[in-house]
Symmetry: C2
Subunit: 214 residues, 2 copies
Amino acid sequence: MRIGIVGGTGKEGKSMARRWALKGHDVRIGSRDPERAKATATELTSDTGRALSGGSNEWAIADVDVVLLSVPYGGHSDTLRALKDGLRGKVLIDITVPLKPPKIRLVHLPAGQAAALEAQAILGDDTPIVATLHHVSSVHLADADHKIACDVLCCSDNAEAMQKVIGLVEDLGMRALDAGPLQNAVALESLTPVLLHLNAKYKGAGAGITFTGI
Amino acid sequence: MRIGIVGGTGKEGKSMARRWALKGHDVRIGSRDPERAKATATELTSDTGRALSGGSNEWAIADVDVVLLSVPYGGHSDTLRALKDGLRGKVLIDITVPLKPPKIRLVHLPAGQAAALEAQAILGDDTPIVATLHHVSSVHLADADHKIACDVLCCSDNAEAMQKVIGLVEDLGMRALDAGPLQNAVALESLTPVLLHLNAKYKGAGAGITFTGI
């Protein structure tokens, strides 16, 4: 699949790009700084033996099936407004957690209840959104050989987009679960500060979640 | 420990009463209907071989250390307002999930963001609250011999109350984890509809959560 990554030079975006490239996907690294994106793409090409390319965010999403949005919450709505036209008709994977630094271990509900719901309000119905991957530690993702002991919850109002993204999450090496409509992203996003609290409290370096009984 | 259960004739309250009684705690079953509470207490006494007693909710909380609140969200704030004076100085365990029937698989944020935060607003600072046990299926709890494959998250602003409740949750047979301040109850409460969705989607009968990496 052709995947464009907005914010592809960050920890999460880069790690997912590496794992997807190793699975044979055509991955494009986007960044506000195209030169940085190109450098990341060159590094990942050398790491993986697969050809990745890099450029602006606009370029990265221009000719793809799926877009991964990987930016801090502070830049979430501005980024979406800027890319709105280019995102039309593509599936958007939104992994944003509305953290409010410095209190990143405390649940912060944004005005729209969830970043993913705010994204849908900005993009309208022409861009199906799947909210997912809020609970996977970048520490685990970074090591592409590492099996990750974490189930991944996916929320969407669009069944086709959900199926596509479930497949892509499984290509990252984890079990993906349909967690219901996009409204349920409120639960997914707000659980991340709890995981960060657990890491701090119990000296973990990447708490994850698995589901039992299903 | 002396534990009073408000709503002790319901599925969750009754199951917890049984497990705590078997661990040697002095458990009082409360209900709006004192006769029903007495019948439940008699049944549990016969089940467990421990002496449980039953009566009104006011009676159940009168002379205890810890109160478990186990009522539907629809009766949550009225129950707390009615019991406010009797709860003063006791630790309140709030397991309420603000479900909005019939859409119980969809996250519903209450006006105060979380039932536990609404409880704190009603009760004030004289009653420390611990929000917990939102994710344990009553199916699993009901069988007192059954080992439950579920970690239990606990939120509180009061460290002493937190420690007390962590011990009581472990007496129920599960690992209890400090999940941070009461504000994080937003995440805990909103995850329950997701578990109900997972049960429906994957034909499970009691999805649970465990945490890895800590």
